[in-house]
């Protein structure tokens, strides 16, 4: 599918400050037909593509007000498969490069949640459907509630408190997957139909021989995502990181279909991979 995406971020710097942004669409698994990154006033910036495919932009700000704007037209190429055809991979056969996505991370203390994960999901049939079962459990047992968590909230706290926002849902799902031996990673994205519009957070699990995408919040169709960044958890995939005396202002995010209208299409129950 083809999407027009845009984001706009304002910052006020009170002294020399460094701003690192990760708001641009990944190139992996997506075709970027056009894009524009601009900053007003216009200052030098530098870009970098990390090994994960995340695209970072670093700006050195002097005192003043800045508006950063990014727009792009991106074609995603979701692959659809039948969930029953997508198996789990025994740890003994995982590519060693995905092993780090089995380890506990800042917001995903999978060690602390292992006993529950194994009791609740350990006996389910393995494969894509088991990860869907995890998403369903979270959707049914955790309230999506703005203001119920903050930037320090871990998946263990979300599990106890039973409320959170999209990043908390993703952290909890990732923790359960890792506890079961399924590599899982955090994905930041532009999410079609997300209401109100904002940067979205979902997750991917390594199944078969690739990453499959899941959204335990059910707020955006998984084939309606334009991916920005991947990482262990939100600590790796902040859209904005800054150092120095700098204050963020309002943020706006949008995503709309840029191809033939497809608004009424039912949400897929296929296994979807966006990773190419």
């Amino acid at each position: 599918m083809r999407f027009a995406i845009a984001s706009s971020l304002d910052y006020q710097a009170f002294g020399p400050s460094t701003l690192i942004l990760n708001i641009e669409a990944m190139r992996e698994g997506q075709a970027i037909h056009s894009e524009a990154f601009s900053i007003n006033p216009d200052i030098a910036h530098e870009d970098h593509v990390a090994e994960t495919g995340n695209r970072y932009r670093r700006l050195l700000l002097g005192p003043g007000s800045y508006r950063i704007t990014y727009t792009a037209e991106v074609e995603t190429m979701p692959s659809h498969e039948s969930p029953g055809d997508v198996p789990e991979v025994p740890v003994s056969q995982l590519p060693l490069a995905v092993l780090p996505y089995l380890f506990a991370s800042r917001y995903c203390p999978s060690d602390q949640l292992a006993r529950f994960a194994i009791r609740q999901f350990g006996q389910l049939p393995q494969g894509h459907e088991r990860v869907t079962a995890i998403c369903n459990w979270i959707y049914e047992h955790v309230d999506y509630l703005r203001g119920s968590s903050d930037t320090g909230t871990t998946a263990a706290e979300t599990f106890a408190q039973r409320a959170g926002v999209c990043r908390d849902f993703a952290h909890l799902a990732i923790s359960f997957c890792r506890a079961l031996g399924i590599p899982a990673r955090f994905v930041s994205a532009y999410g079609w139909q997300l209401d109100p519009p904002d940067f979205h957070a979902v997750f991917e699990a390594w199944l078969g021989n690739r990453w499959y995408v899941f959204d335990a919040t059910r707020l955006s169709p998984v084939d309606g995502l334009v991916r920005i960044g991947v990482g262990r958890d939100a600590a790796d995939t902040a859209f904005s990181t800054f150092f120095g005396a700098i204050t963020p202002g309002p943020l706006s995010v949008s995503i709309t279909p840029a191809g033939p209208a497809d608004e009424t299409r039912p949400w897929t129950t296929d296994a979807v991979s966006l990773s190419g």
Copy 2:
């Protein structure tokens, strides 16, 4: 029932130290037919009965080794009722003196577990049976596992990690009760049939017009307890608190029926109150 209880505690003090013990049977709801508290070498000590009925013994130790021994013959007077006859009390009608047992405490952060408690137990029929349902849930979902927790473990951690020992089971049950508006308190006790013998931890919930006792671990019959202390949680009911350079040594605890043998009697499913 009549029980012979005994405990023996060893301490090594390396300088002037203060030791506060709470190992003697409460008088409330229990008849103490005989008892003896001794310390070897024999030093002065002072006792105090708190407003809760907990009996404290304070000793000022100089450097040296000490053995404290307590023995008693105690008759408990459990009242038995049919669980269906024991209602909850609306908060609007609770005696105001029991309100503090609705508040969060050191190990029972009932605020953090409220959403789950209300989802899981909020729609169940109210009364003694709802508290039994809480105990059953804990028994079924949390592993009793020595070494899985420590003296800092809160009920929110036990809930996430799904493992603990008797004090953790009691803290979790207390947290759920409080979140539902049921006053609940921690009880330390000599527990008949507890294996291996140790001080036991259970809890009481305020129902009808008194405290009813429950044991989510199912390790000791609730009418086989000789109560020592009650409080908000384990922070209030330590059997031993010390200040200064002092090291605890081995501990031994025992409880045996002192009346007509009754070892084979089935465990009760009655609503049991020990509080007189």
Copy 3:
């Protein structure tokens, strides 16, 4: 000193709800010359004085909007002493009734902070001045910052994060005192000169043979407080606790001198007790 105090609280109830308020001036150590508690619309309520002296008011609300108003003229009777004349009391000589104020509580995990407390304050001269040294340390090392904490924040978190509000300052000071063997309790109060006006939180330490008051925030003079409630920590002394579908609205609080004007008087450095 004589103060006119007032508070006004709004609530919206959406069903039968129970509201428990603790906003009225304590009688212990303070003379209440006049007071009025009212609720509009006028509904029945019931009051209760806890063993601590805290005055609770319980209201059973039906659906609707309510405004609660409390006004009083209260004379505090602070005793002033020279700090050097106020000693600590060895644990071996403490009244056993104050021992619970040595134990860890919901927001005051004194066990977790003991090592630091002993390193930092353990060698200081004992007495009132040591508690003042604790307050000074907190004032100098922790930022008073609205929004930096929430109702779940413990003293261990405040210690690590080095920011908080009045209740966090009190929790941290209480934790340090308890770790050093000094009984300490939380005090909610009307605080003269507090800006902006709100319910204030300070603490008391047991020294000599009474409770002495301290304010690590330095936001209100310790002899300018009208005390409302005391307890282990904020979990015991909420000004408002509610059960049911009820939403709090805006709150207003005021305290002004009602006797001869004394606004320019320097803040005292005396040891002050308000507990009578």
Copy 4:
């Protein structure tokens, strides 16, 4: 310097289990003159060098007892510089590839400790000496105490509790560095003179244009380390990770100089890099 290193690990598997080991010396910055990895009974295994240079060995165990042995002779090539010649790098000029080492991780919640780090170390002269000042602060304020922490302990807990072991010291130092804008990573190593011998944990900070090694525990000279693995924190650098029904047994580790004896040489105060 030339070292003979050895480690031996025992495992008991009760069913098919996967074991992933990271016990072999890194090749980056070290010359491996000889090495041998063996498992008894001999079963197939597979190796993998991660992008960090960590060397992983994966074994698929059937039920039974296994002993893994690794021995090597490794020459480290520490570079020594004067600390005053090793500057910090402004975030605006850091290689973007090291940025992930500025982010919070499982055990290093640098966000929670930022306020303290900036207050305590923010005004110190920048460079290698500032990181040494961090190490000195930790050495002076945190007790090295076996049993005071566990595998869930974060740097914020270590900071509050003021006790830990080598991994906790490294996590705390890493957190402070990151909070100050200095990339820092965890290093597992064979540590000469470590007593009792065990796997050791230290850390590296990115200064000038390379990683410099530090040990806040002062238990092993920084030029006496043979590095095994690097990562964000201990979650990335476990020497052993297992999946399945498997129980670890005793572990032995050794490191001795293999070149000319140099036991009496004073510990260096130079800035030391081991990363080549």
